[in-house]
Symmetry: C2
Subunit: 80 residues, 2 copies
Amino acid sequence: MKKAVFYHAGCPVCVAAEDIVAQAVDRQRYDLEIVHFAKNSHRIAEAEAVGVKSVPALVLDSQVFHINFGASMDDVKAIV
Amino acid sequence: MKKAVFYHAGCPVCVAAEDIVAQAVDRQRYDLEIVHFAKNSHRIAEAEAVGVKSVPALVLDSQVFHINFGASMDDVKAIV
């Protein structure tokens, strides 16, 4: 099972993406975790280390996919 | 079955995304079509109509998700 992590910060663009992305990811191949930075600010360093620059972002097997643009990680760090 | 369309233009960012996105989409829920604009320039108008602004982009059930940034649609139109 591969690992998928959807990082977001509760922004409108994030929330719109969350449901659809969560539905679209093949759960038979990916173990999907959803991380909300406002609730899990200790996960910010891990996300930045893997290359997350903005939210929402989906990390599939360590590859970062920035999906649309909700907020930069600087904006995220300013509010959490 | 819902419809998923991955639009791209053969750019390096597109190619990197294509394989992983194609693997990650749940094929039991989504019928996935991959459209390469350089080979299917007649699909550009359809993509723009649904809101595609840059490639690569994944349209899930009419919702557009721009994935990272490879090229703008203006760039795409300039080369195809």
